[in-house]
């Protein structure tokens, strides 16, 4: 049987071959695809990298220009579009402001040469998100027009775009910003603000009075103070007026507190009238005396002759009495050594002595109980300055200048009243102190004893006490003469020349910010609230304090100095910054004019060299009148934008230099008592233009300090600090939020 054989399998090799070829082709295709995928992946990854770095550069350039332009008003309207926009309505359209920097513009050009086609749009998209007004402490009453439009915070949302290899990339980020005032509200209105100075006058007389410590004497008097007052021969703090004497804001206000504690300042007692360039009696208005009805200005009358033959004159007024030729000559004496000096004093070798005139006055008794030399001591704070009374026509009354003194601050001086009548000898009969309103002094001999004259108030109902010699604003006779407490202030906001104690409720600065009457707002309360700091300080924290305005925190003074560009001959603060570090802040002389102001808060102590704004000031009193005039003119025109504020939170402020122009110093030095907060290392004629904010100046220590070199110490105010429109600065925070790189 024949077995059928299978035919040979022709074509099997071909089939295998074809199969293998198919597999080969498939694998080749797959591998090709994979290779191409790798190539794409690399190209894509590189493009991402290129695009990211370029867009970061582009965005950085945009932010840097934003930061530069927001505070630069420039010279033309086109320069200041950003400056105006950030200070205006934040919901308005964000203006076009960006011009690519040459370095950033160069990047796509270089890549073009490498075959990369990078096309930026060069038009960043910008808008403001979440704008909010900044808050203020509850102790402050903020007028509606002030807060929303002036200080605010928000976010600038930015997006930049570029196309690379036909892919469109974008980078977005958000930059927080705030618009804040360059100066502290309320406090900026003050040339001197000491809200615990009452600690230096725990009692108004004697050893516990550390305010009235300057041993005063007439410059020509020619006597050294006795040993026990030798340390207090230093010059007082003079607070002269600006060139705008009638502007209540331009001279800088003064607060001596606490708000509810009385402070008494001995007036210095310049006896001459219309002759002296400096005095303080002018702050007393003749209309404030109840005995006076018609006299508008003081006069200077010779009263009696001294041992040397010169006539004693005093600033005063002659009040006609009920008989012809009968006068009550009332005059003011300030506290001075001339008053007391038993050898060469006004009353030396006369039958009249201070004791015989004022001896029954409880204030006088309290004042001189420990030491008669207390009569020689004047206030170490002279809250006035140059006087131009002598330049005015005789018929033109000098009303003093419009410096507002806040707090329960009283002027203290001696009133000396002579009863003068025809043929009276030696000035007449002194009307001594007597607390009985119906008292009459014994009849005085008239015409060589042939007749007598008796003092009688000119009108029924007028009391003897209104006319008699006494210490005004004495402090010890409150019950007797409660209406004779005269505020140390001539300025009356009502324009009526009334005597007023200016307190928190009367504070009406030009910008409209006021202490909140609904919350019994006080200066002390505001200062404490505004300057309160949380140790867990973070940037951008909401709140109503200075802390919430901080936009940069530096770990140490070195970082701050780099920021302020001190080594480049600049001092640019442009906002509110905070300096940490145990070493505090120690600045050498700052002689540049290139200053952009702001508030520098230092955690620890501060030492400052001179800050001269370019004036060639040496460490000595400025005697060059031309230079002094130039400085005065400069200060008068100095804008808020150039004023520097230094705040020491936990340290003291030591001034290495003694010339500081356009500076506000705030010392929050911890501790409750009288202590050194702001002090001068070696003053030889202080020139300070700006403001001093502290608890207590420690006047005894300062007077001794000033006395070492016995220079003149002048504290001026910078008038622009009280401008109705506070200068603002835009702070662009250093951090970026919501960073978002996208392939669109």
């Amino acid at each position: 049987m024949r077995t059928l054989a299978r035919p040979p399998r022709r074509g099997s090799v071909t089939i295998i071959l074809l199969g293998l070829l198919s597999v080969m082709l498939f694998l080749a295709f797959t591998l090709f695809q994979r290779q191409r995928g790798h190539g794409h992946l690399i190209a894509f990854g590189d493009a991402h990298l290129y695009a990211r770095y370029f867009l970061e550069a582009h965005l950085g350039d945009v932010i840097q220009q934003l930061r530069q332009k927001v505070n630069d008003p420039g010279t033309s309207p086109a320069d200041r579009v950003l400056y105006d926009f950030f200070r205006g309505d934040p919901t308005a359209r964000f203006p076009s402001f960006y011009q690519p920097s040459p370095l950033v513009k160069k990047i796509p050009e270089q890549w073009q040469e490498l075959g990369l086609d990078l096309a930026p749009t060069w038009e960043p998209q910008a808008r403001i998100l979440d704008p909010k007004p900044l808050q203020y402490p509850p102790s402050l009453q903020v007028p509606p027009e002030f807060s929303p439009g002036l200080e605010k915070r928000g976010i600038v949302a930015l997006t930049v775009r570029a196309t690379l290899d036909n892919r469109r990339y974008s980078l977005s980020a958000q930059v927080p910003y705030s618009v804040v005032c360059r100066l502290n509200p309320v406090l900026r209105d003050f040339v001197f603000f000491a809200d615990r100075i009452h600690l230096e006058q725990t009692r108004p007389f004697g050893r516990e009075d550390k305010i009235n410590v300057t041993f005063t004497k007439h410059p020509d008097y020619g006597q050294e103070p006795p040993a026990e007052f030798r340390d207090y021969k230093g010059m007082p703090w003079f607070f002269p007026m600006s060139n705008r004497p009638n502007d209540p804001h331009a001279n800088g206000k003064v607060f001596l507190g606490a708000d509810d504690k009385p402070i008494y300042l001995n007036l210095a007692g310049e006896l001459r009238y219309r002759e002296t360039p400096v005095s303080d009696l002018w702050m007393v208005n003749p209309r404030w005396f109840r005995a006076n009805k018609d006299i508008e200005q003081f006069s200077a009358n010779p009263i009696f002759m001294t041992r040397s033959g010169s006539m004693v004159r005093f600033r005063g007024m002659d009040i006609p009495l009920n008989l012809k030729g009968y006068l009550a000559k009332m005059g003011i004496f300030g506290f001075s050594h001339e008053l007391y000096d038993p050898d060469n004093g006004l009353f030396s070798q006369t039958v009249r002595t201070p004791d015989s005139i004022w001896g029954q006055d409880p204030s006088f008794m309290a004042m001189t109980a420990e030491n008669k030399l207390q009569l020689a001591l004047s206030s170490s704070l002279k809250l006035y300055g140059p006087n131009y009374e002598h330049t005015l026509p005789l018929d033109q009354p000098y009303t003093g200048f419009a410096r507002q003194i806040f707090g329960k601050v009283y002027a203290r001086f001696l009133l000396l009243t002579f009863f003068e009548f025809p043929s009276a000898q030696g000035g007449g009969q002194i009307l001594p102190y007597n607390s009985d309103g119906n008292f009459r002094p014994p009849p005085a001999p008239k015409y060589h004893g042939e007749e007598t004259a008796t003092f009688e108030p000119p009108e029924p109902g007028q009391k003897y006490t209104w006319f008699m010699s006494r210490i005004v604003s004495g402090g010890a006779d409150r019950d007797v003469l409660s209406d004779d407490y005269l505020p140390y202030n001539l300025f009356d906001p009502t324009g009526k020349g009334n005597r007023l104690l200016l307190q928190g409720k009367d504070f009406q600065p030009a910008d409209g910010l006021r202490l909140n009457p609904n919350r019994n707002g006080t200066f002390e309360g505001f200062a404490r609230e505004w300057m309160s700091f949380d140790p867990r300080l973070r940037l951008g924290q909401p709140g109503g304090t200075l802390q919430s305005r901080v936009a940069r925190i530096f770990p140490n003074q070195k970082a701050f100095k780099e920021y302020a560009r001190l080594s480049e001959g600049k001092c640019w603060i442009d906002g509110v910054v905070y300096v940490r570090g145990e070493e505090g802040l120690d600045l050498d002389d700052l002689t540049t004019k290139d200053i952009r102001g702001g508030i520098v808060i230092v955690e620890k102590g501060i030492r400052l060299g001179n800050i001269t704004h370019g004036f060639p000031i040496k460490k000595e009193p400025i005697e060059d009148k031309t230079l002094l005039e130039q400085i005065s003119d400069y200060i008068d025109a100095l804008p808020q934008s150039k004023v520097l504020t230094f705040v020491s939170r936990e340290g003291t402020i030591r001034l290495k230099g003694d010339k500081h122009i356009g500076v506000q110093l705030v010392a929050l030095t911890p501790g409750g008592g009288v202590r050194d907060q702001i002090s001068w290392e070696s003053p030889r004629g202080i020139l300070f233009a700006g403001g001093l904010i502290l608890d207590t100046p420690n006047l005894v220590a300062r007077i001794k300090e000033f006395g070492r070199d016995a220079g003149k110490n002048v504290f001026l105010y910078v008038p622009s600090m009280a401008d109705a429109k506070p200068e603002t600065v835009v702070q662009v925070y250093p951090r970026l939020d919501q960073y978002d790189f996208n392939l669109e």
Partner: protein, 162 residues
Amino acid sequence: MRRGMTMLELLVGLVIFSFAILPILSFGTTTTRTTYITGKHLMAGQIASSLLDRLMAMPYEEALAEAERLRGLGNAKVLEDPWLANILEHQALAAGRRVLEDDLAKSFRFFEFKVGIDKDTTAGAADRMFLLTVFVSWRVEEGDEKSRTALILQGVKFNDLR
């Protein structure tokens, strides 16, 4: 009757198989090489961006000083970068550290970097920013210096105090 394959058939089959497998093997080799090249490229990207990011993260003056120092090195071996060396010094890998160092040395031995700096010469702009260019080069062919290729990254360091 023929049973099985003749030697000739087997040889023909092997020849055909060889022709088929050779390109596949060749593709395999190419793939490996491509992966290797890709890896190197990505590695170069990592090196360049880490260098750039490191400089960008520094304060301006420090970044400028460091960039100038790196520029002064010219073409430098990546492993000679003190920063990378410093990282290796501080790696807490104990026993594995030697292995890691060997691996890194093998991986990066032919990588070099160079840093360039451009400043804006416009008046007043000199201290505001500088352009950083980072070149990272490596050998595409392990033993061939001529096969060296480079990746370039550019970034701008801004002085945020300006």
